[in-house]
């Protein structure tokens, strides 16, 4: 579903991505992990077309992405920090997105709106919402149009345990519906039972890319967190 070849991006002197080759397929939940500044966000932004790569190619469903933006109708994106216009109401945001994606045929997925009880705050302006509530709105937006690819940047960072569990339940549910979910997160234990594949980035390079089983066999650790820690130690040592 997503494939990159030789993806390279520099910001002035900082080399954010260096020759990144990767493949992500449907029915996968890929955890994108790595230390701060390892290029996780840059990679995601390249896939979304927000950052223009210096070199290399990105293919989504076999099509190279250029300046044509229509491929993004297959993607649902949940940003790390969601900020919306102060005086826009929650309900207006959903209305706006529905009309912007007017061509979207098929059912919208309003399950998260229902589970987070967002209808109750439809009349509230965005500026009155807490950070966690804004995250819930962002999550609901990402899932709204039944995309094939979900890109979630630190999805559980600002959520309380209950809301975070709702989101994980939702991810688990869509995992087997021929979808691809890409998640970045620092909190390792949070992702334990969801992840099928990991992609470990360090200093802009793909350091390790494997399925969970391979990872367990490779490191001999059963727990996801410990297995990752073991990879990190090996790459540092």
């Amino acid at each position: 579903m997503i494939e990159t070849r030789g993806l390279t991006k520099s910001f002035k002197r900082l080399r954010a991505l260096q020759q990144v080759d990767l493949r992500m397929e449907e029915n996968q939940v890929v955890s994108l992990i790595g230390p701060n500044g390892s290029g996780k966000t840059t990679l995601i932004k390249c896939i979304l077309g927000l950052v223009r790569p210096d070199g290399g190619e990105i293919h989504i469903n076999g099509q190279p992405i250029g300046k044509d933006f229509h491929y993004r109708s297959t993607i649902g994106y949940m940003p790390q920090i969601g900020r919306y216009p102060d005086h826009m109401k929650v309900g207006q945001l959903f209305d706006l997105l529905r009309s912007l994606r007017a061509k979207h045929d098929g059912q919208t997925d309003e399950e998260l709106i229902a589970h987070y009880r967002l209808e109750r705050i439809y009349d509230q302006p965005m500026r009155t919402l807490s950070g966690g509530t804004r995250q819930k709105v962002s999550a609901a937006v990402a899932f709204l149009f039944n995309p094939e690819i979900y890109i979630l940047d630190e999805p559980t960072a600002g959520l309380d345990p209950l809301s975070s569990e709702i989101l994980k339940e939702k991810i688990r549910k869509i995992r087997d519906q021929r979808r691809l979910v890409v998640i970045t997160s620092h909190i390792l234990s949070d992702l334990d039972d969801l992840t099928t594949h990991i992609l470990y980035l360090q200093e802009g390079r793909v350091h390790y890319q494997a399925s969970m089983e391979e990872l367990r066999n490779f490191t001999g650790e059963q727990k996801f967190g410990k297995a990752i820690a073991s990879i990190m130690q090996q790459s540092n040592g």
Binding site: L50, H87, L96
Partner: protein, 258 residues
């Protein structure tokens, strides 16, 4: 195209609820009411209003637009993750911002002026005020796209305002003074076109009686700006001041890393 208008409508309805825009309209309305009520001669009141207009419109339009752009950064990112083009999103932000500033101007200054004047002068006032707002918003968006940092962006915009509103006149005076032995009427005409604020000022002044005091150059200017052709010229140049910065910002924005 429809996506762009929908987006513009939603952003517009967000901005006009902004306290700054409401205060901006309120301040202008207050100034207009006070001047028209205290000053017996409405022409004099209009002249004072013009001076307020020429300082306040560029200052507020430019600073507000810059801050609006930076505050919308995450929202713009979110929109660009949708199947929308960069041009659509950028132009929607620009249009919504410029139109809400124009609305504040029309409510605050436009309506009071229209109550007292219903002639070409009032039309000229509304037209130049509107186009000046568009031009300043476009210049501000251009600066905001150029500078990644908010403080730097606002700094650039303040410097530009300072230049157009104050420094430029000094430079023009110096040129005129230095070369006063030569016929400079045409050069002066050109120089006014290079500053949207000056252009607005000249095109308004020459419709008022004060232009009688301006001597020979004033007479030539009056002949030029006083006609309908003058309005077309002023409007056209101010439009250029909107379109050129917009084209430049679109070029940068299209390939920008967000």
């Amino acid at each position: 195209m429809t996506a762009m208008w929908t987006l513009t409508r939603y952003i517009f309805s967000d901005i006009i609820r902004n306290k700054v825009i409401v205060l901006y309209a309120g301040f202008q309305l207050l100034a207009a009411l006070l001047l028209f009520n205290l000053e017996e001669n409405p022409d004099k009141a209009l002249l004072s209003l013009l001076n307020i207009e020429l300082i306040v419109i560029p200052l507020i339009s430019m600073i507000f637009s810059t801050i609006h752009y930076y505050n919308s950064y995450e929202f713009i990112e979110m929109l660009l993750a949708q199947p929308l083009g960069r041009r659509q999103v950028f132009l929607s932000e620009f249009l919504a911002c410029a139109l809400s500033l124009v609305l504040a101007f029309v409510v605050g200054l436009g309506i009071p002026v229209l109550v007292h004047f219903q002639d070409l002068l009032a039309f000229n006032f509304l037209l130049t005020g509107t186009l000046l707002t568009f031009a300043c918003t476009a210049i501000a968006f251009c600066a905001a796209v150029l500078a990644r940092d908010k403080a730097r962006g606002i700094g650039i915009v303040l410097l530009l305002w300072f230049y157009f509103a104050l420094v430029y006149d000094g430079i023009v005076l110096m040129i005129l003074f230095t070369f006063s032995d030569y016929p400079l009427e045409r050069l002066t005409l050109l120089l006014t076109a290079l500053n949207p604020i000056d252009l607005t000022r000249v095109s308004m002044m020459l419709r008022m009686d004060v232009s009688a005091l301006m001597g020979y150059t004033g007479a030539l200017f009056k002949e030029f700006f006083g006609s309908y052709r003058g309005i077309l010229y002023t409007g056209g140049i101010l439009l250029l001041w909107t379109i050129l910065p917009l084209i430049m910002s679109l070029r940068i924005f299209r390939n920008k890393d967000l």
